[in-house]
Amino acid sequence: MQTWFPFRRALLAVLVLAAILPGYRPVDAARNGAIAGHVELRRPPVAVGRRPGVTDLGTPTVQPMAEPQMSVVYLEVAPRGAFEQTDTTRAIMDQRNETFVPHVLAITTGTTVDFPNSDHIYHNVFSLSKTRPFDLGRYAVGRSKSIRFDRPGIVRVFCDIHSHMSAFILVFSHPFFAVTDPAGRYRIDNVPPGTYTLVAWNEGVTSESRQVLVSDAGVTEADFSLR
C-alpha cells in the first residue's frame, strides 16, 4: 500500500496514540517548558518548464513570489489531555494574486477555515484528500466560503481554475505544533515536561523523528535538516 505516505501514518499515530498515553497531567503553564529550534531546508530547487498560465491570456503578469517555505514542527505523540480542547476556532486561508496565503496552515481539529477571495478574479477551492475531500465551487471576488476540519490529517487544496495554486492545511488533534518563521525558526510553547518524539514537516516531506527531553520551564533546542 503505497497510498499512505509515512508522514501521514505518523500523524494518524499521533492522533490515536495520544489518547491512550498514560501519565498526562493537566497542563500547568507555570511549569511547562518549550521546544525551539531551526529547520534547515536542503532540498535543491526544482525547475519546471513554464506552462501557459491564465496570465498568458491577457491578464496582467503575476510575478511569482519566492515565498520562504514554511515548515511545521510537531510532537508525534502528544501528552495526555492535549485533546481535551474543544473550543471552536477559525482560521483564514486567503486567496491573493493567484496564491493561497498562507501556503501552509496548521490547525487543530474542529477549526473552520475561511477561504476569502481577495483577488481580482474568480477562484475555486477543492481537495481530493482522504482527510477532507471538498469542493467549494467557484466564487467571485469579495466572497468567502468556509469549511470545518474535524479529522486530523493533511489536506492539500487546489484551485480548479488556476493549476499552479495549491496549499497545505495540516490538521492536528493537539496543539503542540508550530509553523516556522521565514528564517526557519520555530518555538513550541507550553509543553509539559517529559520525553517526546519530535517531527519536522515541509511540503509533504517529514524528517526523521527525534526524541527530545522537555524539562520544567526550560527551552529544549532541536534543529532539523530536511532534504
Binding site: 497510498t3 526544482v46 515565498e67 517555505q69 477543492f126 495549491s166
Partner: protein
C-alpha cells in the same frame, strides 16, 4: 595495307571512325549521366522521405507533448495524483484517455511508482516507470523515450506533474505514448510512396512490407546510418536507415531505427528503357554516319575514278578523242576533281591538235622526200628505157642490139618494180606468221642468199645453244639479207673485206650480230640510219634499214647500230625466244599517219 592506300577508303574510314567515336562518346556520356541522375533522384527521394518521417514523427511528438502538458496541468489531475490513491487517479486518467486517443497513458507519483495505466501490454507500466525519461520528469524535465512493443515502437512523451510557480512541487509524472505501428507506417507510405519499417534492438516491429520480409530487414537495423540495398520478392530496394532520436545518447546498433525503402525496379525499368533508346539511336546514327561517310568519300573519288578510267583508256588506245564526262547533275562532286577532269580534257584536246598538226607536217615532208626519191629512182631507169627505145627506133637494128636493149629495158623495169615494192613494203602493215625456226640455219641461208652477187664472203659464227626459236623465219631472213648486203656493200672496195655473222644466246633472248670492216658511218649520220629515206648510197631508197627495224621490232626484238668511221660497223639484233606474244607494230604509222 593496300586497301588503306585508296583515298576513298581513307576518307571513308576517317569519317566513319569519327562518326562512331563521337556518337559512341556522346551516347556513353549521356548514359552515364542518366544513370547517375536516376541514382541521385532515388537517393533524393529516400532522403526526402527520411525528412518527412522525422518531421511527421516530430509533429506527432510535439502534439502529444502539448497534450500531455495540458493534461498534466489540469488541477483535477494534480489533486488526484496528490492523493496518491490509484483508483482516484485511474478515474481521472480514464477521462483524459478518452479525449487523447493515445495508445498509452501512464501516471506515476512523485516517487516514480505507477498510479494509473491505460493501454499497452500488462508489463508496460513497470517498463515505462523504469525509463530514464520518467526519472528525468521527476526532476522537472520533459523527455521522450522509445519502447519496443509487440506491434511497433512506442514513442512516449513524459512530462512532470507539478504545482506552484516560484517553487514548483513535483507531484508525479504523466506519460503519453503513441505507437509507431503498421498503421503509422502505412500513413507515411501514403504520404511518401516509400516503404517504411520501424525496428529496435535488431527486430522489425512494424512495417509496410509483408511479414515474411521482416527477417531480411532486421539484419539492416544494426548497419548504422549507411545506405544499403536489399532484395525482397525479386525487387531491389535502396534502404536508408535513420536513427530515431530521443535526445538521449544511445549505444550504436541497439537504438530504434526507421528503415526507408525505395524500390529500384521502377528506376531500373526507366533506365533500361533509356538505355535501349540510346542504343537504337546509336546504331541508327552510326549506320547513317557510315552511309554518309561512304557517300562523301564517293563524291570525292567517283570523279577521280572516272578520270582514271578515261586516262587509262587513252593510254592504252591512244585515242585522244575520249573525254572525261562527269555527271551533269553531280553537284555534290568535288570541285577539284571537276577542275582536274576539265583540265585533262583540255590537255588531251591540245595534245590531239598538236599531234594532228605534227603528223600533217610529217606527212607532207615524207611525201616530199618520197617524191624526190621516187622521182630520182624512177627517172634514171626511165632515161635508160628512153635511150633503149631510141636505139630500137633506129632503122636496121641488129638483132643482137635488140636483145641487148630488151635486156636493159627488162633490168630497168625490174629496178622500178623494186623501188615500188620497197615503198609498198615500208608502207604496208606487216603481218607475222610465227613458227619454230632453227635460227642458225636461217642465218646461213640468209648469208648464202646475200652472197648471190660477187663480193666479200660472210664468216658465220653460230652458237649451237641458240637452237629453235619461235619466229617468222621469212621476214627475219629478208631483214638479215638486207643487213648482210649492207655490210658487203660497205666493205666493197676496201682492203680488208670481212663480214661476220654471230649468233649468241643470252638468257631469254638471242643476239645476232652482223659486223663489217667497212668505212663506217659518220657520227652525225649514225642516229639517222634507221630513219626512212635516209641514204648515203647512190641508188638506195633509204628504206632498207627502216624496214628491217620494223620487222625486228614487230618480232618483239631490238636493233641497234654501232660504228667507228674507218674501222667498220656492227648491227646487233636482239630477239625473244618466242615472238608470238610480241605486239605487232605498224610500220605504216611512220609513213602515213
Amino acid at each position: 595495307m593496300k586497301w588503306l592506300s585508296s583515298l576513298r577508303s581513307r576518307i571513308f574510314l576517317a569519317t566513319a571512325a569519327l562518326t562512331v567515336l563521337s556518337i559512341g562518346v556522346a551516347i556513353y556520356l549521356v548514359s552515364v549521366r542518366v544513370t547517375r541522375e536516376a541514382e541521385n533522384s532515388l537517393q533524393r527521394e529516400i532522403a526526402s522521405t527520411a525528412r518527412l518521417v522525422d518531421q511527421f514523427r516530430a509533429t506527432r511528438t510535439q502534439t502529444f507533448t502539448m497534450m500531455a502538458r495540458l493534461i498534466a496541468d489540469a488541477p483535477k489531475l494534480k489533486a488526484a495524483v496528490d492523493t496518491n490513491d490509484p483508483p482516484t487517479v485511474q478515474d481521472t486518467a480514464d477521462d483524459y484517455q478518452a479525449q487523447l486517443n493515445s495508445n498509452l497513458v501512464l501516471i506515476t507519483n512523485k516517487k516514480g511508482a505507477v498510479l494509473a495505466t491505460i493501454g499497452g501490454s500488462p508489463r508496460t507500466g513497470d517498463i515505462v516507470a523504469s525509463q530514464a525519461s520518467v526519472k528525468r520528469a521527476l526532476m522537472g524535465h520533459e523527455g521522450i523515450s522509445l519502447l519496443p512493443q509487440p506491434d511497433g515502437i512506442m514513442q512516449l512523451v513524459t512530462v512532470p506533474i507539478s504545482v506552484g510557480l516560484a517553487q514548483p512541487d513535483i507531484l508525479g509524472t504523466l506519460s503519453v505514448g503513441f505507437l509507431l505501428d503498421d498503421a503509422f507506417a502505412g500513413q507515411l507510405k501514403q504520404l511518401t510512396g516509400s516503404d517504411i519499417a520501424f525496428g529496435m534492438d535488431g527486430q522489425i516491429l512494424s512495417t509496410t512490407v509483408p511479414r515474411a520480409d521482416r527477417e531480411l530487414l532486421s539484419d539492416l537495423l544494426s548497419d548504422g546510418a549507411s545506405p544499403s540495398n536489399v532484395r525482397l520478392r525479386d525487387e531491389e530496394f535502396a534502404v536508408l536507415p535513420i536513427r530515431l532520436g530521443t535526445g538521449e545518447p544511445l549505444p550504436e546498433g541497439v537504438g530504434p531505427v526507421a528503415l526507408i525503402l525505395r524500390s529500384r525496379t521502377e528506376q531500373l525499368r526507366f533506365l533500361s528503357e533509356i538505355h535501349t533508346e540510346l542504343a537504337v539511336t546509336a546504331v541508327v546514327a552510326i549506320l547513317l554516319g557510315t552511309l554518309l561517310s561512304f557517300t562523301v568519300a564517293r563524291t570525292v573519288t567517283r570523279p577521280l575514278a572516272a578520270i582514271t578510267r578515261v586516262m587509262r583508256e587513252v593510254a592504252t588506245t591512244g585515242d585522244l578523242t575520249r573525254k572525261i564526262v562527269l555527271r551533269s547533275n553531280a553537284r555534290w562532286d568535288d570541285e577539284d576533281a571537276k577542275l582536274l577532269a576539265s583540265t585533262f580534257n583540255t590537255l588531251t584536246d591540245t595534245v590531239a591538235r598538236a599531234q594532228r598538226e605534227n603528223s600533217q607536217r610529217e606527212r607532207l615532208s615524207s611525201l616530199g622526200r618520197l617524191s624526190t626519191v621516187i622521182a630520182h629512182e624512177v627517172r634514171n631507169p626511165l632515161m635508160i628505157i628512153k635511150a633503149a627505145l631510141h636505139t630500137l627506133r633506129r632503122p636496121a637494128v641488129a638483132p643482137e642490139e635488140v636483145r641487148e636493149v630488151a635486156t636493159d629495158i627488162d633490168g630497168e623495169v625490174a629496178r622500178l618494180n623494186r623501188v615500188v615494192n620497197d615503198v609498198l613494203d615500208f608502207a604496208r602493215p606487216i603481218t607475222f606468221d610465227c613458227s619454230a625456226t632453227d635460227l642458225n640455219a636461217l642465218c646461213r641461208e640468209s648469208a648464202s642468199a646475200a652472197q648471190a652477187t660477187p663480193g666479200a664472203t660472210v664468216t658465220i659464227d653460230a652458237d649451237p645453244s641458240v637452237g629453235i626459236v619461235k619466229t617468222d623465219g621469212e621476214r627475219l631472213r629478208s631483214a638479215l639479207v638486207n643487213v648482210i648486203m649492207n655490210a658487203r656493200h660497205a666493205v666493197d672496195g676496201q682492203q680488208t673485206q670481212r663480214v661476220t655473222l654471230t649468233t649468241r644466246r643470252a638468257g631469254g633472248t638471242v643476239i645476232i650480230t652482223v659486223g663489217d670492216t667497212g668505212l663506217g658511218i659518220d657520227r652525225a649520220n649514225l642516229p639517222q640510219v634507221f630513219d626512212p629515206y635516209f641514204t648515203t648510197k647512190r641508188g638506195g631508197t633509204g628504206l632498207g634499214l627502216p624496214i628491217t627495224r620494223n620487222i625486228v621490232e614487230g618480232l618483239g626484238g631490238t636493233i641497234v647500230a654501232a660504228s667507228e668511221p674507218g674501222r667498220g660497223t656492227e648491227i646487233r639484233i636482239t630477239l625473244p625466244l618466242d615472238s608470238t606474244s610480241a605486239p605487232a607494230t605498224h610500220s605504216e604509222d611512220r609513213l602515213l599517219t
